[in-house]
């Protein structure tokens, strides 16, 4: 790595003692010698193992659940169904008033994706729990499912989630989050070229080294200590308090040392049911995802579809950009309504475009609920935007890097969501990339600056 101190030297004082120093990480020796304690290193006498009975169907009505054989299985201590969960229908963003509550801790009456949790089994050993899971009998009536976002948005499509009533999230702005800036239609009419292209991604796994999980110990004072690898301690505690209808003062979360997290551990999935198990049995409980569960059950990065329509002039100026983004939330909201709206605030990318129209949709389908992942609401949008930029440059016969200089935002430029640009540095990054990659651009671009009224 090379620190190029010559850029922005005029706005930066390099007079610090500890900041800017490559101090060795104090936690590294523990990590590399195996001495760092993670949640799963906690082991308590009498600890029970929790395993889930999961839906084999993408969409089905539950006619009946028979747990009698499972309960008789040697080693099984407790079997939990929806009726055991005090506040079974929840949504995690209710903490910031983003509802409605639309997901069940344990399925009640219906399953909406293949892999959804239906029954929780607590047993003396992992093996006994796994064997008992196979003995739970669930009678399903399979329902039509929808997997494609376009199909889901058509009239008459199967309704994925009755708590929403339609297969998209309803924002206060309507069926999508909107950004309106200037007049895109007038600008398209004036543009030398108009290019509309569609981009698509597929769900992506977080792949942390340490799978999602927690260990819960009931304390003597009617409190529960939950050792967890959540990425958000109080967010998880407060949601657990709602789901279990238990005062927050009864809950003690310990964590903060996590073996990799890219957003998937912001969901609140394992902690509430494990604490409930500990409460109802009076025993410590551990609930840790297998690698298979981590890959197919825990939330992936959402698949997205992004449609971009641009109006561009022969001289390289983009004069209009219309973006329609679709985020595949899967069967439940989790963080997806936030991610789709974050996308609306990110488009049209780091470029100054006078006419912009953005619609971002959060769509429900019968698949594993997606949620936050590194670059939430932005990563796939950037893929679409930057491939589109390449296509536009070639369309007008311009060098792709020079084309970006022409449109790059600078301090003071008004963004589509009506915030003036501050602290821009795109131009300088491109100048340095031009040098480092030996990708020459015209001298006038190397003389540009992100500063207001920069050359």
């Amino acid at each position: 790595m090379e620190l190029r101190k010559d850029y922005f030297a005029d706005v930066r004082k390099d007079d610090l003692h500890e900041i800017g120093q490559p101090r060795p990480r104090s936690d590294s020796p523990g990590h590399v010698t195996g001495r760092t304690a993670y949640f799963a290193d906690r082991n308590f006498p009498g600890m029970l193992h929790l395993k889930m009975v999961r839906s084999p169907h993408d969409h089905a009505r539950i006619r009946s659940i028979d747990t009698s054989e499972a309960e008789k299985h040697p080693g099984v201590v407790k079997v939990l169904t929806a009726k055991d969960v005090p506040h079974n229908v929840y949504t995690i963003l209710i903490l910031i008033q983003v509802g409605p509550e639309d997901e069940t801790v344990l399925a009640d009456g219906k399953v909406r994706w293949k892999g959804e949790a239906v029954v929780a089994v607590l047993a003396e050993t992992e093996r006994a729990a796994q064997e008992a899971v196979a003995k739970v009998k669930v009678n399903y009536e399979v329902l039509p499912a929808v997997f494609d976002m376009e199909e889901a948005l058509k009239p008459g499509a199967p309704v994925v989630n009755e708590y929403h009533g339609q297969n998209y999230y309803l924002y206060d702005s309507g069926e999508c989050r909107k950004v309106r800036f200037g007049d895109v239609d007038a600008a398209f009419a004036q543009a030398d070229h108009v290019l509309e292209q569609s981009y698509q991604s597929s769900p992506i796994e977080h792949a942390p080294t340490e799978t999602t999980g927690c260990v819960v110990a009931p304390e003597g004072n009617d409190r529960f200590t939950c050792y967890t690898n959540t990425q958000a301690m109080f967010f998880t505690l407060d949601n657990t308090s709602i789901i279990l209808q238990m005062p927050g003062s009864k809950l003690h979360f310990v964590g903060g040392t996590v073996g990799g997290g890219f957003g998937g551990k912001v969901d609140v999935i394992v902690e509430p049911i494990a604490i409930l198990g500990a409460k109802l049995t009076g025993r410590p409980v551990c609930f840790i995802y297998s690698r298979e569960e981590e890959m197919q059950i825990s939330s992936p990065r959402a698949a997205e579809k992004v449609v971009i329509k641009d109006g561009v002039m022969k001289d390289g100026r983009i004069i209009a950009r219309k973006v329609t983004g679709y985020t595949d939330a899967g069967a439940y909201s989790r963080h997806s309504p936030y991610g789709a709206q974050k996308g609306a605030g990110h488009y049209p990318g780091p470029y100054t475009i006078p006419n912009v129209w953005i619609d971002t949709y959060c769509v429900y389908t019968n698949r594993t609920p997606s949620s936050a992942m590194r670059g939430f609401g932005v990563t796939i949008g950037d893929f679409a935007l930057e491939v589109q930029m390449d296509k536009l440059a070639r369309l007008i016969g311009m060098d792709p890097l020079e084309f970006r200089f022409i449109n790059a935002y600078r301090d003071g430029d008004m963004k589509a969501h009506r915030q003036p640009t501050e602290g821009a540095a795109l131009i300088e990054c491109m100048q340095e990339a031009s040098r480092a990659a030996n990708w020459p651009v015209a001298e006038k671009y190397m003389a540009m600056s992100s500063y207001k009224n920069g050359a």
């Binding site: 983003v98 309106r180 003690h252 930057e386 990339a433 480092a436 990659a437």
Partner: protein, 334 residues
């Protein structure tokens, strides 16, 4: 049939924080009797090194070496509230809270030293080595060890501080979408060079040159580990990863690392990282959040390089050999 070479560029920015939800983090700082400092948080270290960075921020602010600071996180019985580690917010939000708490603790520390040395607190400064000096008369000094002892056993003072950083929630305007989705933006430009085998559709990423602007590299070695890892993840997203290879079809989802494709060490490109620093107005010592941004520009840069190499656009991720071969076949038949 041939191996064809191409290169592509992408430039991006990335927002720090989750302003659209409201974004608070708190921190507490206190000294031990012998002048070490405890930072108490409920923020989560995901392995990225948050504890180390918070220690350096606290040390810089109080004016002591980093090894005099211990970070305690995350326990909800002791640590004050933090929204969580996501949205590239950890260093920025918690760092600002730690600075505020450390400033308050530093002020008490200087007041105690001033009483001991019979000078005004405003005339004192720290040397960064564990001592408090009189400005302009450095021979008149006192160790922070002794100042802490005095505070605890003689002066009855608590060398401690409270820190709070809050970005109030921004509500998007319904019709126009006017909003403040972030506080500051990190930037990047990446140039990727690839080889594409037009017989097998296989892509080899040869070099990835990344330029990142991150506000301030608080610890350059840790910045490097973050940015290199992110760059690898970007390549992985571009060419390999998905839980549903034939999305929206649900079949063929991987359930372990044999089935779920990710690059191995031999698949990783020669990676170059260049860092620029334009300090952000509201970041701790000017830092922005580069943790998420650093995995983004490689994806379109690789996609554009594939086009440059073989002349077909793969607009669906991941860019698999199958998709490239199908596109080449369609191109040949046109």
């Amino acid at each position: 049939m041939a191996i064809r070479r191409g290169r592509g560029v992408a430039a991006i920015n990335y927002p720090t924080g989750m302003n659209l939800g409201g974004d608070p983090t708190q921190a507490l700082v206190h000294s031990t009797p012998t002048g070490n400092f405890m930072v108490t948080l409920s923020s989560v270290d995901l392995g990225q090194g948050m504890k180390q960075i918070m220690a350096q921020i606290c040390a810089e602010t109080i004016g002591v070496p980093t090894d005099r600071v211990v970070v305690d996180t995350a326990d909800t019985d002791t640590g004050p509230h933090c929204m969580g580690t996501f949205a590239s917010r950890g260093t920025h939000r918690a760092g600002n809270a730690v600075i505020q708490a450390a400033r308050e603790a530093r002020q008490v520390m200087l007041e105690v030293a001033a009483e001991e040395m019979e000078v005004n607190a405003s005339d004192l400064e720290t040397d960064g080595q564990g001592n408090i000096l009189v400005k302009g008369a450095p021979q008149k000094s006192m160790s922070i060890f002794d100042v802490a002892l005095s505070a605890h056993f003689k002066r009855g003072r608590s060398i401690s501080g409270r820190g709070m950083f809050l970005i109030p929630r921004s509500y998007p305007e319904k019709e126009t979408g006017a909003m403040k989705p972030s506080t500051c933006y990190a930037h990047a430009c990446t140039v990727a060079e690839v080889e594409v085998d037009d017989e097998t559709g296989e892509v080899t990423v040869l070099t990835v040159k990344n330029v990142f602007e991150i506000g301030r590299a608080l610890n350059p070695k840790m910045v490097e580990q973050q940015l290199v890892g992110g760059s690898w993840m970007g390549i992985s997203h571009a060419l390999y990863e998905t839980t549903e290879p034939y999305y929206p079809n649900r079949d063929h989802g991987g359930t372990d690392f044999n089935q779920y494709l990710m690059p191995g060490p031999g698949d990783l490109a020669e990676t170059e990282i260049i860092v620029l620093e334009r300090p952000s107005a509201d970041g701790p010592y000017g830092a922005k959040g580069p943790g998420e941004m650093c995995a983004n520009p490689q994806i379109p840069a690789v996609a554009n390089a594939v086009f440059d190499a073989v002349g077909v656009r793969i607009d669906t991720l991941p860019i698999t050999p199958e998709r490239i071969l199908r596109a080449l076949k369609a191109q040949a038949s046109n």
